[in-house]
Structures are given as structure tokens and as C-alpha cells.
């Protein structure tokens, strides 16, 4: 293991474990000693309605009612398209849409006022079904080869449909933002967020001011997982508008029910796959991918792009045709969640491959293995896998950990009795960094180092630590290049008034892309280092030369410079009386390149793995026939506890990436992506295999097992 891999004590360990870290909700007063007003949102009770009138009760002194008429700038939250309003326009488009905010000193009084506001609605018919969405926010199509020819010449054609449900990020700290008016008309907005500069752009626009009149700070953030990518921009605008009107600090913190019900989640999906097989080999795949975007487009364009790029999984298929649609429904807007569209399509493709193998009478691991892509092969978007693909060696690693191949064959044989076993396997990739030309054309990251006279060095970047450890790993890289003790290099939470835009904290990009900028900056600083002087160096992103340019209009080229790889196996024991699947073992091999800190990377892999298992099994969330989310508490939306996966084993496989720092690739999202299909294959195997029970949706709960098993009796 390289020196850089050795684990250190995380820089934020001490204040966090002592409970001294101040999250947004922990401020009693602002830093300047001002009283903070409590802001709360008036949410729409209807999935679609025209707002005819709003009657606000007399407000006590010091209380404010804020709606779209108070927005000094533009009632559009700057995300991808201009459709998400700060406060609703003339109609509400989903249950929970913010109509207005009430702000004032006493929370109970704010609640009273909210309960007395009378809104007259004209109810309209909502569209709630992904199958008949009212419009497509985004549509893409791409492919290679001749898929029709593949179908004409096929020995057999397989057609299946897959469904995946919502998944909520369920960070332990709910969403919250605060705005404080400063002198000279500057608005200071801070809170629990991933992307300080996204909030910056959004607040500027809502307030109608230039960049110098707004600055954004990331408070310590109690988890994000994508959930705090776009949503803080929305609440950030709301509190900024409220603070502007009240001319006082306003803080809005969601309670858990609001958070589960009204904040972005993973897109539910419907995938229709048609696959051609000739001579035992997949020769063509036609994949139709539909994501339920919800009422506004928010991040759906980019989520869908990543999803459809992964549509054919890790397989070399000659003829491919993919279409993707993000459909509008009158439901909560979906957004970013670790994996960003890819967990849905990987689940579809992995399950399809397993079902085909079972139909052909071949072990699905061997069938998949025969189709693995290799270095030099063409990607789904006619780019190239430029670097070695270590899947076979990773599979060997998992086989050794889990006794995978033997068990997989053994459990395929007919089982009887109450308890039956299955083991499933799945292999995926995750492309690190923004999709396509995003890093080059859109993000254009800049990172800086500032050396002070006392010899300490500060990292200046906009990537927030949300638990993944960049406050430790960034300084580790810089200290390593400068030969400094780690204590001499530090990285504070970003404030846009002080740091350049190194891009958002998303897409598993921070360490691989910004970490490499910092490594290069540190080398630069080393060469010009002069004691007792303040010095600053800066680095800008440059796209690696080997990349085949990506064109979004044709959906062609290298979608990512390189890929992180994952292989996982999940073993279950199914209780056929209760439907419960006990996870006996969960095994993963992950190639994220060089781990810049072994423990930190292992923590990402284990945490992501468990989220993936939750997604496939117990994390069920859906809405009723009015469009209201039914699972808005931890009693109804279950996430895994310490007892749910007692035997979770992870190993790292290192395939170094030359353009990442010390060979590192993106890590954060990868581990969530593979487990769902592995879990489903395991449960299906325990139920007798896909010829008896073909499973095609997640989450697959104990109730679903019983429902499926009952078909045998009927």
C-alpha cells in the first residue's frame, strides 16, 4: 500500500465525537449575536390545483408572510431548466409544493399562523402514473450497430419490464438553510449543503443581484448522498427572500416528516428491455428507460443521462439502441441520490442477464463473465474503455470471500423446507466526474492553495465535507506533496467569499478531479516555496488528452474518462413462512483506484453497500391515489440498522488511474449500485429461480415474497 493510503485520524473527528460541531440547527443566535427568525413553509395539500386566493390572518408584530410577490429577482430556481419556482406560481404541481413561508421569532406562533392561513384552490386532475406522464422533460436516444438486424437474426428474443421505487437519501440531519442580511445589501446564506456555488447562483438570481452581493457558506453537514445537491438552492432562495423582507436572519429547518415527504429522492423508473441472443451470446439490446421526474425538471436531465449510459451494464454488446425519457408527473420532484440514475438501469440490465442465463440453462455468473467488457472495447456511447477492466480478477476476489461460484450452482438445485438459500451476483461500473463534457464545458474547476507566513497551508476549494472526508483527504494530498505534517495543512468548510469554484460536491468527483488539481497546485507551490511569505497558487481543470469528445446532441463519445468497478455477491436465507430474507453475507470487491485514505474509502464502500441493500429490500416509499407520499416517517420508511446486515465484507482492488491523484478514481457512489441486482438474484434463487419466480422490481419486500410464493398455491 502506498504511503498516501495509510489512514489518519480524520480532521473533524474530535469535535464531532465530542458533540461540539455546530450544525445549522445548533446556532442559538447568529455569529453576530442576532436573534434568528424561524421560517416555515406552507405546503400544497393538492397534487395539482389552481391557487385562487390566499387569506393571511393578521400578523403579530415581527412576523412575516413571504410568497412569490416578495421575490426581488426571478421566481426560478437556477438548476438546469427554468421551471422550479422559489414559491409556487399560479398553480401548485405536487403535494408539498411551497406556496409561501411564515417567519417570526416563536416557532409555535409561526405554526399557529400557518394553520390559520386560508388558501382557496381549484382542484385539477393530477397525472400520477409514470406510464402516462403529461410531458417529457427530457428525451435522449443513442446506439450503435444495427439492433433491428440483431433481432432479425436472433435465436431468441427476450423482453422484460423492470420497476424500481423511490429511495430517500435519509441523511440523519434533515435539510435546513439560513439567510442573514449583511451590510451594503449583501445576503449571507448558509446551511446543510453540498454545492455552495449552486446555491450562490440560485440566490443571486432570486434576489436579482450580482455575485458580490451574495455569499454562501457550508455549515457542517450531517450527510448528503445527493439529497443536498439541488434542494439547498431552493430553500436557500426561500430563506434569502424571507430574510430580505424581514431584514433579519431567517432559518428554515425541515422536520423529518417534511424531509421524507417533500425533498428530492431517487427517481422511480420503468425500464423495458428487449434483448437478442444468438449462439448463446447477447447480440443486441433495445432499452427503453423512463424516469419519473416529478413535477419539476430539477436535475432529471443529468440523472437520466447517467442512467441511460449505464443501460447495457458492463457488457460488450454489438448492437445497441437506447432511449431515455424523464416524464413529468404531479409528484414530488426527484433529484440526486448516490448513483444518480445508474442504480435503476444496472438493476434492469443485471437482472435481464441473469434471467437470460437461467433460460439458456447457463450459470448466470459465467454467462455475464463471457460478456464482460475489456480494455479497448467500445462503450454504450461509442466511447472507449481506455484502461484495464479488472472485473474478472475482482470476481475471483469475491468468489474467494463468498465461495460464490460453488454456492451459486448449489442453490440453483431444487430446495425444499421452510428456509431456502440463494446467492446473487452483480457487476457494475461508475464513471467518475460529470457526464460527458460537463467538467470541461460547464464546471471548469479551479482550486487554490494559500500559504501563510507561519508555514501553514490552506486549501481553497468549494467541495464540502458531508461525511466523506474531504476535509481530511484534501489536506493529506497537499501535505504529502509539500512534505509537511498534516497539522500544517487545513481545509475549512467552503465560503464562496473566500474560495474559488472547484465545482459541486457530486458525481464522485471531489477527490479524483479536485484532489488532482490540489496535488498539482502543491507541486507548483513546492517549486516556488519561500519561507516567511504569503503565497498563493491556483490550478485549473484540463480534460485528459486521451478522451474522445462527448457530444450531447448525438449522445456520443467518452461519457467518462475512466470507470470505477464493483463486483458484489449477496447471500440470503429466505423464510418461506414469513417472507423475510435474512442476509447471511454481503461481499464486495471495489476498484476505486488508489484509496487516498484506506479507512475513509472502506467507510464509503460499506456505507454505500448497505444503502444499496436497503434500496433493494426494505426501503419502500410510494404515493397514494392523490399523489401523497405514504411513508413519511422512520416507522414507515425503514433504513437498515446495525442488525440487518451482520456480515458485510468489503475488499479493495486497485487499478490505478493515471489522471487521478496517486491513481485514485471516484469512489462515493459506486458501492450502492451493484447490490440491488445481487440481492434480487439471491432472493429469486431461494424461491426456485426465474423459471418459477421471475423477480423484476425493487424494493422486494417480505410481503412481496409471500405474494409471489402464493402464486404457487393458486
Amino acid at each position: 500500500m502506498k504511503d498516501i493510503c495509510k489512514s489518519v485520524v480524520k480532521k473533524d473527528h474530535d469535535p464531532k465525537i465530542k458533540g461540539e460541531t455546530r450544525y445549522l440547527v445548533d446556532y442559538n443566535l447568529t455569529d453576530k449575536g442576532e436573534r434568528i427568525l424561524c421560517g416555515k413553509l406552507l405546503h400544497s395539500p393538492y397534487a395539482k390545483a389552481r391557487v385562487l386566493s390566499v387569506t393571511v390572518p393578521d400578523l403579530p408584530e415581527g412576523y412575516f408572510y413571504i410568497d412569490k410577490t416578495d421575490i426581488p429577482g426571478d421566481n426560478n430556481v437556477n438548476i438546469v431548466l427554468d421551471d422550479t419556482p422559489v414559491f409556487c406560481r399560479d398553480t401548485v404541481e405536487y403535494i408539498g409544493e411551497p406556496i409561501a413561508m411564515v417567519a417570526g421569532p416563536d416557532e409555535k406562533e409561526v405554526d399557529r399562523i400557518l394553520s390559520e392561513i386560508k388558501v382557496e384552490f381549484e382542484e385539477l386532475a393530477p397525472e400520477l402514473d409514470i406510464r402516462n406522464g403529461t410531458k417529457n422533460f427530457f428525451e435522449y436516444e443513442f446506439g450503435h450497430g444495427d439492433v433491428e438486424k440483431a433481432f432479425r437474426e436472433a435465436d431468441k428474443i427476450y423482453e422484460e419490464e423492470y420497476l424500481t421505487g423511490y429511495q430517500d437519501q435519509t441523511y440523519l440531519e434533515p435539510q435546513g438553510m439560513m439567510a442573514e442580511p449583511e451590510e451594503n445589501g449583501v445576503m449571507y446564506v448558509h446551511g446543510s449543503l453540498q454545492c455552495a456555488y449552486y446555491v450562490h447562483g440560485a440566490v443571486m438570481r432570486a434576489l436579482g443581484v450580482d455575485a458580490s452581493k451574495v455569499h454562501i457558506f457550508q455549515d457542517p453537514t450531517g450527510g448528503g448522498f445527493g439529497g443536498k445537491e439541488d434542494f439547498p438552492s431552493i430553500i436557500g432562495c426561500q430563506v434569502a427572500v424571507a430574510a430580505k423582507k424581514a431584514n433579519a436572519p431567517v432559518r428554515c429547518v425541515f422536520d423529518r416528516r417534511e424531509d421524507l415527504e417533500f425533498t428530492p429522492k431517487r427517481h422511480p423508473s420503468l425500464c423495458r428491455y428487449k434483448v437478442a441472443v444468438k449462439d448463446g451470446r447477447v447480440t443486441g439490446a433495445d432499452c427503453e428507460v423512463i424516469f419519473n421526474a416529478g413535477a419539476y425538471s430539477t436535475l432529471s436531465a443529468v440523472v437520466l443521462q447517467r442512467g441511460i449510459i449505464a443501460a447495457i451494464g458492463v457488457y460488450d454488446i454489438e448492437n445497441v439502441h437506447v432511449t431515455g425519457k424523464a416524464v413529468k408527473t404531479n409528484t414530488n420532484p426527484c433529484g440526486a441520490y448516490r448513483g444518480f440514475g445508474a442504480p435503476q438501469t444496472f438493476f434492469a440490465m443485471e437482472t435481464m442477464m441473469s434471467h437470460i442465463a437461467q433460460d439458456l440453462g447457463e450459470d448466470s455468473i459465467e454467462f455475464k463473465e463471457r460478456h464482460f467488457v475489456k480494455q479497448g472495447d467500445t462503450t454504450s456511447t461509442s466511447g472507449r474503455y481506455h484502461f484495464p477492466v479488472p472485473l474478472p480478477r475482482m470476481l475471483a476476489q469475491v468468489d474467494e470471500m463468498a465461495d460464490l461460484r460453488r454456492k451459486h450452482k448449489e442453490y440453483m438445485k431444487a430446495q425444499t423446507g421452510r428456509y431456502r438459500r440463494g446467492i446473487g451476483f452483480s457487476a457494475v461500473f461508475h464513471g467518475a466526474g460529470f457526464t460527458g463534457s460537463g467538467e470541461r464545458d460547464f464546471i471548469k474547476a479551479t482550486a487554490k492553495l494559500r500559504k501563510y507566513k507561519d508555514g501553514t497551508v490552506e486549501v481553497l476549494a468549494s467541495n464540502g465535507d458531508i461525511g466523506q472526508g474531504v476535509r481530511t483527504t484534501f489536506p493529506k494530498i497537499v501535505a504529502h506533496e509539500l512534505n509537511l505534517p498534516l497539522e500544517k495543512v487545513y481545509y475549512n468548510h467552503p465560503d464562496t467569499a473566500r474560495v474559488p469554484d472547484s465545482g459541486p460536491t457530486v458525481a464522485s468527483r471531489s477527490l479524483m478531479i479536485v484532489g488532482e488539481l490540489l496535488r498539482r497546485a502543491a507541486i507548483k507551490l513546492r517549486t516556488i516555496w519561500r519561507d516567511n511569505e504569503e503565497q498563493e497558487v491556483e490550478e485549473h481543470y484540463k480534460e485528459p488528452d486521451f478522451m474522445i469528445p462527448f457530444y450531447l446532441d448525438r449522445f456520443e463519445g467518452d461519457a467518462y474518462p475512466t470507470y470505477a468497478w464493483a463486483v458484489s455477491a449477496v447471500e440470503v436465507e429466505l423464510d418461506t413462512y414469513t417472507g423475510l430474507s435474512k442476509i447471511l453475507g454481503a461481499y464486495g470487491s471495489f476498484d476505486v483506484g488508489t484509496p487516498v485514505d484506506y479507512n475513509i474509502v472502506m467507510g464509503q464502500m460499506e456505507g454505500g453497500f448497505l444503502q444499496g441493500l436497503g434500496y433493494a429490500s426494505i426501503e419502500k416509499m410510494n404515493y397514494d391515489n392523490k399523489g401523497r407520499i405514504r411513508n413519511n416517517s422512520f416507522t414507515d420508511y425503514l433504513i437498515p440498522t446495525a442488525m440487518d446486515v451482520p456480515n458485510l465484507q468489503v475488499k479493495l482492488y486497485v487499478e490505478e488511474y493515471p489522471d487521478g491523484p496517486y491513481g485514485a478514481k471516484g469512489a462515493g457512489e459506486l458501492p450502492l449500485v451493484a447490490p440491488p441486482a445481487a440481492y434480487i438474484e439471491a432472493v429469486e434463487q431461494a424461491m426456485g429461480g426465474s423459471k418459477r419466480h421471475k423477480l423484476s422490481f425493487i424494493p422486494f419486500s417480505a410481503e412481496d415474497v409471500i405474494h409471489e410464493l402464493n402464486k404457487e398455491v393458486l
Binding site: I17, G19, E173, G222, S633, F634
Partner: protein, 157 residues
């Protein structure tokens, strides 16, 4: 005076508000015990866990009137102890703290477990921490840290 008297981190206090106020809110707002986090306010996540007479409770589900004459420990008090230091060291060595929001509750759950059972098995640790949700770690690092603390801090519990 009719206040509610209890001991908080070793000091006698007297709460003047209503006996039905939530212990979580009283600890955070009146006594500024900000290590006590609110993750759900309905007894499911464990972020607000505190020790009442050495037993782990979710403070969101306790009315302050119920703690009269009892002893409450939060991380503000616990962090001064040798047991805390052993746990903190073990958590640090495995980088078991990610976002940090569940951690004060998790540390107190660990303490409650180790006081009852100084040498727990892995399964007992998993059970002992099962009322505390963590979304970041997948629990492995935390469970192993508690096991290590139990070994290395032998005699402290």
C-alpha cells in the same frame, strides 16, 4: 419553588417550564446541550439518545417531568471520562465518524452497552447499537470500534 429537579452531567438543575416539555428540547434549548441531536422526534433514530440513570433513552420520547430526581448524562458530561476517551480513540482509529450527526447518540449507546456488558460479542454490539441509525458507515467501523474499545479499554467498564 415547583421546578423539576434533576442532575444533568453531574450538576443539580431545576427546570422551571412545563413537566410535559420534551426532554430533547429542554436539553438543547434550556441547557444548551447541543450534542443531543434531533433526527426524527419520534423515537426511531437514536440521534437524541441520552443516558438516564445509565440507561439509554431517546430524549425525544421523554417528558421532562419524568426525569425528576434522576441523573442524565449527555456527551457534554461523558466526554470528560476515561471511558469516552477509550471510545473516541477506537472510533478515530477506524474513521468511524463520517457526517457525525448520529455519533453522540451512538457513543452513548456504546457506553450503555459496555456498562452492562464490558466484553460483548460482535452480535451483542450490533444489537446494542440497533436503536441508533447511521446512514453513512454501514455500521462496520462503528461496531468494530466498540469491540476494540472493549478490548483496549479493558477494566474501564
Amino acid at each position: 419553588m415547583n421546578g423539576i429537579r434533576f442532575r444533568l452531567n453531574g450538576k443539580d438543575v431545576c427546570y422551571e417550564g412545563s413537566a410535559t416539555d420534551r426532554l430533547l428540547d429542554v436539553l438543547r434549548d434550556t441547557y444548551d446541550m447541543k450534542s443531543v441531536k434531533c433526527g426524527c422526534k419520534e423515537g426511531e433514530c437514536g440521534a437524541c439518545a441520552v443516558l438516564i440513570d445509565s440507561v439509554l433513552y431517546n430524549s425525544c420520547c421523554v417528558a421532562v417531568g419524568a426525569v425528576e430526581a434522576h441523573e442524565i448524562l449527555t456527551v457534554e458530561g461523558f466526554k470528560e471520562t476515561e471511558q469516552f476517551k477509550a471510545l473516541s480513540k477506537a472510533f478515530a482509529e477506524l474513521s468511524a465518524v463520517q457526517c457525525g450527526f448520529c455519533i453522540p447518540g451512538m457513543v452513548l449507546a456504546s457506553q450503555a452497552l459496555l456498562m452492562k456488558n464490558p466484553h460483548p460479542t460482535k452480535e451483542q454490539v450490533q444489537e446494542g447499537l440497533s436503536g441508533n441509525l447511521c446512514r453513512c458507515t454501514g455500521y462496520n467501523a462503528i461496531v468494530n470500534a466498540v469491540l476494540n474499545a472493549s478490548k483496549e479499554g479493558d477494566g474501564l467498564w
